[in-house]
């Protein structure tokens, strides 16, 4: 798990003082360390599922084509979207879109993934599937996920929960992963 230290003025992630980076360095940092999953998926409408997942590799990592293709297919396989890879976002369901979004966030092998209400636009069954998918990704790629949610059902799936109340952080609640696995 990457070290995240937040002080009064400084934010240090994985040894880098983020707030001291310029615009280009920030972009490079985001491209190499972070992955994002958005509440509204934010897939690029003109790109297919495959191209959406490939996008961060093309725009940030500059991976060579054979590796890139293999990486994209791997991650699409992992999220169960390999059969839908040539479809554009408007041809996918909400759950499928979010799977593509998860794949896009993971394709660069980021150390930290920030997810903004990743299940808010999904039905319960799909939402739980997405959370489980994220957990599998964590185990497979050793990625840390931080996500926000209002859904108590989804919170049940989390290991550590931080509550925000009136803009203030409430004490963390640590949960045993073995308890969760038993529940499953």
């Amino acid at each position: 798990m990457p070290t995240v230290i937040c002080g009064y003025r400084n934010i240090i992630v994985d040894g880098k003082q983020v707030d001291a980076l310029n615009r280009k360095q920030s972009a490079v940092f985001r491209g190499s360390i972070l992955g994002y999953i958005f509440q509204a998926f934010n897939l690029f409408p003109v790109l297919t599922a495959y191209e959406n997942v490939e996008y961060p590799l093309v725009m940030t990592k500059k991976e060579q084509s054979p590796n890139r293709n293999q990486q994209v297919l791997e991650v699409l396989e992992a999220v169960g979207m390999i059969d839908q890879k040539d479809k554009r976002p408007d041809q996918l369901s909400g759950g499928q879109k979010q799977r593509v979004a998860v794949a896009r966030a993971l394709v660069t092998r980021p150390k930290l993934v920030l997810a903004d209400e990743p299940t808010a636009n999904l039905d319960r069954k799909t939402a739980i599937n997405v959370i489980r998918l994220m957990r599998n990704m964590r185990d497979e790629f050793n990625t840390t996920f931080i996500f926000s949610t209002h859904d108590p059902g989804i919170m049940e799936e989390a290991e550590v929960i931080h509550s925000l109340e009136d803009g203030r952080l409430i004490h963390p609640e640590k949960r045993s992963s073995s308890v969760q696995e038993e529940k499953e």
Partner: protein, 417 residues
């Protein structure tokens, strides 16, 4: 880069109607400029060709002071044999000069025995004249077709068609020319109407033609004199350097008062059409300016709309790690692609338009010149520069929206509604 181009094309296709309308507007701009350039260029080239090849010649050399008083057709400003030899010596040795021909200009009274009128005459040496003005016979009608080659023989006259109609004269009629020589004595000679010439625009466009030997006889010249030396160059595009060279060479000859003996003028100084040609160039430049404005405003408008409609998308790109430079490149490529599509369409339709204009020939009248045929054409160089202008303007118009997109903070952009 190919990937950015692909995304740019897809983004343009995302808003098909808007892209189509903008592209159509730019295409129309390019098309109008190509057609206007083709037509105006053809008109200009044809008129200049008429003036220099059928009448005026490309360069004229006179005795100093003649051109400023040429309306009076002064006979006391003729060049004598010595002056003629000097000019010929320069022209013979100049590598840009192709040919030259002597002329005598005179005014006379023309009578067909029932009516009399004034006529301005151009007395020529036909063999030399056809070298300097190869199209001189093209706008003349003769009794027999073969006579066009000979142009004129001693004892013959070619009269302007308006004069022929006014005085009801035709080929083969006998007329009398009466002229004063420079001493004031009057002389008259009979001539046969050998040809009738159409009017050519310019100061010498309504002149009749007689043989130079007849002019000398009519004016009772004791020694051969000429009014002007008409000059043709090997390459018309070298007009300016040839003019400068000849002017420098002629400046070495001084008159008794130590002032230059000769003066030299290009057709541009002698024909009022040069000002019309300049106006055509100005109109052509204005058309290009209008087209640039259309391209600039259209692409600027589309790209600004595109940026404001895709704020969240730009935020996503940025959040994923796309550098500001790549975001800028993406939007610049969109603008450039839009310009490129329009350039392609405009050029294809424009060239096709020129082709069809050449099939369906355009005939028109200019001044008193009738039945002029336009042959519009557009050069590859002109198409290249036109395309280059549209291309550069497209990129320039995309610059501000692209810059604005690249400067967006991902947090603000993602929060945009």
């Amino acid at each position: 880069m190919i990937r950015i181009f692909k995304i740019a094309v897809r983004n343009l296709m995302r808003f098909k109607r808007r892209t189509l309308l903008t592209s159509l507007l730019i295409t129309m701009g390019v098309l109008v400029v190509i057609l206007f350039s083709g037509l105006s260029g053809s008109f200009k080239a044809m008129m200049i060709g008429q003036i220099t090849d059928a009448n005026l010649s490309q360069i004229q050399i006179h005795k100093k002071g003649y051109v400023s008083s040429m309306d009076a057709i002064p006979l006391n400003l003729n060049l004598n044999l010595k002056g003629y030899a000097k000019i010929e010596g320069i022209l013979k040795n100049h590598p840009l000069v192709d040919s030259w021909a002597p002329r005598i200009k005179l005014g006379a009274m023309l009578s067909n025995y029932s009516e009399t009128t004034n006529i301005r005459l151009n007395a020529i040496d036909p063999e030399k004249e056809v070298n300097v003005c190869p199209a001189v016979g093209d706008r003349m009608t003769f009794a027999e077709k073969d006579e066009r080659k000979k142009l004129i023989k001693p004892g013959e006259i070619i009269i302007p068609d308006k004069l022929a109609k006014g005085m009801k004269m035709k080929h083969g009629d006998t007329v009398v020319l009466v002229a004063n020589n420079k001493d004031g004595s009057v002389n008259g000679l009979n001539f046969t109407v050998a040809g009738i010439s159409e009017v050519v625009v310019g100061p010498q466009g309504k002149e009749g033609y007689i043989h130079i030997e007849d002019a000398r006889a009519l004016l009772r010249m004791e020694h051969p004199e000429i009014t002007e030396m008409a000059v043709r160059l090997k390459d018309f595009d070298k007009l300016e350097p040839a003019y400068k060279d000849l002017k420098t060479a002629l400046a070495d000859f001084k008159n008794k008062n130590g002032k230059p003996a000769f003066e030299i003028h290009t057709w541009e100084k002698l024909s009022p059409f040069f000002n019309i040609a300049k106006m055509i160039d100005l109109m052509s430049a204005t058309m290009k300016l209008i087209m640039i404005s259309i391209v600039l405003i259209s692409i600027l408008n589309v790209m600004i709309m595109s940026v404001y409609e895709r704020v969240r998308e730009i935020g996503t790109m940025s959040a994923i790690g796309t550098t500001p430079g790549r975001i800028m490149a993406l939007f610049l490529t969109e603008g450039f692609t839009l310009g490129l599509i329009s350039i392609g369409a405009g050029n294809i339709i424009g060239v096709a338009g020129i082709f069809f204009l050449n099939i369906y020939k355009i005939r028109f009248s200019f001044g008193r010149m009738d039945n002029l045929l336009l042959a519009p054409s557009v050069s590859f160089t002109e198409l290249f520069w036109l395309s280059a202008i549209v291309f550069v303007v497209s990129v320039l118009a995309s610059l501000y929206p692209a810059y604005k997109a690249s400067k967006m903070e991902p947090v603000d952009a993602l929060g945009h509604i």
